[in-house]
Amino acid sequence: MSLSKDEILRYSRHLIVPEVGMEGQEKLKAAKVLLVGTGGLGAPLGLYLAAAGVGRIGLVDFDVVDVTNLQRQVIHFTKDVGRPKIESASEKMMAINPYLEIVKHEVALTSENALDIIKDYDMVVDGTDNFPTRYLVNDACVLLNKPNVYGSIFRFEGQSTIFATEGGPCYRCLYPEPPPPGLVPSCAEGGVLGILPGTIGLIQATEAVKLILGIGEPLIGRLMLYDALGMRFRELKLRKNPECPICGDHRTITKLIDYQQFCGMPNREEEPKQEAKVNDAEIEVTEVKEKLDRGDNFVLIDVREPHEYQIASIPGAKLVPLGQIGQRLDEFDKSADIVIHCKSGMRSAKACGILKAAGFEHVRNMKGGILAWSDRVDPSVPKY
């Protein structure tokens, strides 16, 4: 794939690097990379891969830009809030480099469409945010023999490696199974330093470009760990597991499976049923407000963390972080009328379960948490 005169000038600083040169730049132009997710990791990936001249970049995302994304997802601007991420991202990438071809897959990657989408690309760069999709991307890459440039982040820490190369380990070799839901918090629950995905995303971008150019020592069989607080990189050995169910000696997985189920999450069809089951244990924010106004004799427990309480709180709520509630049950009366809240209702549901299992009789979860309180009771309470 030859370069035009304008492209030669644009990529001049690549062309004069002997390891890249005309041949390398033409490889970049001929390369087809699928970027799954245009969020924290996808943002720097998209910008730099576009600038570097990767010829065809596929984007998979079905989300819209939210104002809370802007702290880290630098491909999306304030004016893009509410727009599909895929539109916002492709617009910025084309503005950087109009010589690109961007293929938009505005869908959720599923077991039904993953092989069909991925098969047309040379490699996948995984910038997703959840375990089911990560296992799905891994399995599809192993089945199709496509390298999977992996990165993930949590608060101040990141991990990166390349999975599913010929003879190399895969994600299941590293982690045969995902954690049960709720044990490991997501970015939305656990938070993330906004700069962190930039560092990890660019490690992924570096590895993708090296793979395309065929230069250097790829991050295969090595897991790179990054600790932003200590500013340390550590490298661990990553071996191919001979017992791996998808890439080992005795393979038991030969096609894509149900990844929601694999990760212990309820099937989409089953969700309404679950909701009905918990409804009798829930209370609306407006009803909690009425109870407070009437001066009802009840206990309102906030199971968030102290730093969240500082951002926003409901007057009269007693702060007992979820991690402590099991040890602090004796602070409450088992026959008392108890309402528990958190940010959005997930942690408080867990806390309700703990109290009920300990014999508390009247425990209800405040539906929607303090976010719903801000929406429907007191708009002066900030959302976060």
Binding site: T128, D129, F131, G151, E177, P179, K237, L238
Partner: protein, 92 residues
Amino acid sequence: MAKILIPTPLRQFTGKLDNVTVPGATVGEVLAALTAQYPDLRKQIYTDEGKLRSFINVYLNDEDIRYIGKDTAATKEGDTLSLVPSIAGGSR
């Protein structure tokens, strides 16, 4: 004796410490000493049957203990053990 590096998601179970040094001549002994000191951590890294959870890997220096004898791998002064949990964040 070995130093164990505690990753961010598990620090809430070690009183916020990012590393803990405990005695032990094998990986199994070191982990037992660690979880005796921090019982809440035990539930996070072991199943009810006492098996290491499959989404937390343990490395002795840069080697995955699954390939060097698991709990029986010998530890010596100056060794570092890392607990590396599976994390999925990246987008939202």
